[in-house]
Amino acid sequence: MLDYREPNEIPEEFRHLVSERALRGETMLLNMGPQHPSTHGVLRLLLELDGEIIVNCIPDIGFLHTGIEKNMEAKRYQQAEVMTDRIDYMNNAMNNLVYCLALEKLTELDVPLRAQGIRVIVAELTRLSSHLLWLGTSGLDLGAMSIFMYAFRERELILDMLEMISGQRMMTTYIRPGGLWRDVPVEFEDTLRNFIKIMPGRIAEYRGLLEKNPIFRDRTISIGVINEEECIRWGITGPILRATGRAYDLRKVRPYSGYEQYDFEIPTHDGGDIFGRYFVRVNEMLQSVRILEQALDKLPYGPVRSTNRKYVPPPRAELGVSMEALIHHFKLWTEGFKPPVGSVYTAVEGSHGELGVFMESNGSPKPMRVHFNTPSFINLQMLPLLTRGRFVADVVGIIASIDIVLGDCDR
């Protein structure tokens, strides 16, 4: 890579994307490079500018491509789950959840009801933590620094709870095929109830900090507008689609893991702009707290992992007394389990949109193909649509409102 390049030289790979005016030198090409304080990760944007107005915006991704899908084909199913945490590192448990749901659909494994309830609790906690981080960093991008500190204060409470149940703050791998890794400890319920009690007040605090602020309103209302038909044409799901007025949420349309029994609303807004997406996400946080409360109230007693020993290892106490348990343990640890041949597609409502997994198995203990359908990859495609004709200063706000995570985008 050269350290010096001739001015006005456009690299070969972009020549067909920039307009004629750039080649003549009328418009300027500005590189919002991979290291930038506001691009939420390593995203490179090539902006074609006519003064301050953006003529075109070309996203360049791949700076965080980790080769997770290929690496998962070299590991067994249980080992490959560890890598799923790191795909969308803001809502870790949802990646685990969708992988386990796909595996359970493929192998027709049963999940006990207590495990389903706790899965919902962990998923909603990670959705809250992802939205809190989004709120903090997008406030930071738009100039409001104190909201960052407030949002992280709550996020620490959530991470403490995740550490209590699994030992790890972020990459928990708590949701395993057949249920969960282990049951929640005794202190978890009281901590969660305390959290549920204080959270709505805190969310009201954030809204009080931002919503009536004239600078925030000027920077977000009627900026980055997209309407519903374009969203559906471009395959956008998640809070962006809900901010255009369409109440589409996978937890209601294709419910999974017991979401049918909980009563919650789908917040929408019909502006389609940055303010609409902010509004939808903040209200989603309130609905998540509601779901947490209902899930905790309705949580039944019982086992937390399936007893199908072909896929789920036996507890260690059994190994001393039962020969079959020893054999199952041995086979699972040395060879791994072998799902039936076939392919499935499962999706959950992640905090950024629809997070899906396409899993194909050829009967061997290693997955033949695992493909993650990640929302950030799809949502980033429409960035040129949203930024054409806008000022450079709006780009930061628009990227913050789409809420992309580059690990999710590049895998």
Binding site: M1, D3, G33, P34, Q35, H36, P37, G41, V42, G62, F63, L64, H65, T66, G67, I68, K70, N71, V82, M83, R86, Y89, M90, L133, G136, T137, F148, M149, F152, R153, R155, E156, L159, R169, M170, M171, L406, G407, D410
Partner: protein
């Protein structure tokens, strides 16, 4: 009959120049903003109010590498990002230090494949390695304190 005994009550302290320079360098190192992946989230958590990084003078993360002394390489470095990392490191003025945060930056971590550098020390020289996936904010502070101890032992002729 040293200088301090004569003039000590006037508020004069004597020390070696090396010690003073090293002490000053540790007291407010400005980090360059180089969060790549999941470890960046823990770096941000270390900066937030619960675990406060401004105790070390580091609350201000400079976006431009020309204004920073310390680079936390937080996250996994891929083939496409490697030259960018080296370019940014070259732009930082001396004295500069690198803390490699997390397993992926130190040794490749969970990912042992074609796309990830197996340790960022294939690209830049590293002073302190922090283990963890992601490391807790307390582990990050331990790394910062270790770096401070290392800086206090440096010789003046290193950057002269």
């Amino acid at each position: 009959m040293g200088l301090e005994q004569k003039a000590g009550d006037m508020g004069i302290v004597t020390a070696r120049l090396e010690d003073v320079v090293n002490w000053a360098r540790t007291r407010a190192m400005w980090p360059a903003l180089f969060g790549l992946a999941c470890c960046a989230i823990e770096m941000m958590a270390a900066q937030a109010a619960n675990y406060d990084m401004s105790r070390f003078g580091m609350e201000l993360m400079r976006a431009s590498p020309r204004q920073s002394d310390l680079m936390f390489v937080a996250g996994r470095v891929t083939n496409k990002m490697g030259p960018v990392l080296r370019r940014l490191y070259n732009q930082m003025p001396d004295p500069k230090w690198v803390i490699s945060m997390g397993d992926c930056a130190s040794c490749g971590g969970v990912f042992n494949n074609y796309a990830i550098f197996q340790g960022v020390d294939e690209v830049v020289p590293v002073d302190v390695y922090v283990a963890g996936c992601p490391p807790r904010p307390e582990a990050l502070f331990h790394a910062v304190i270790t770096l401070h101890e290392k800086v206090k032992r440096e010789k003046l002729t290193k950057y002269a």
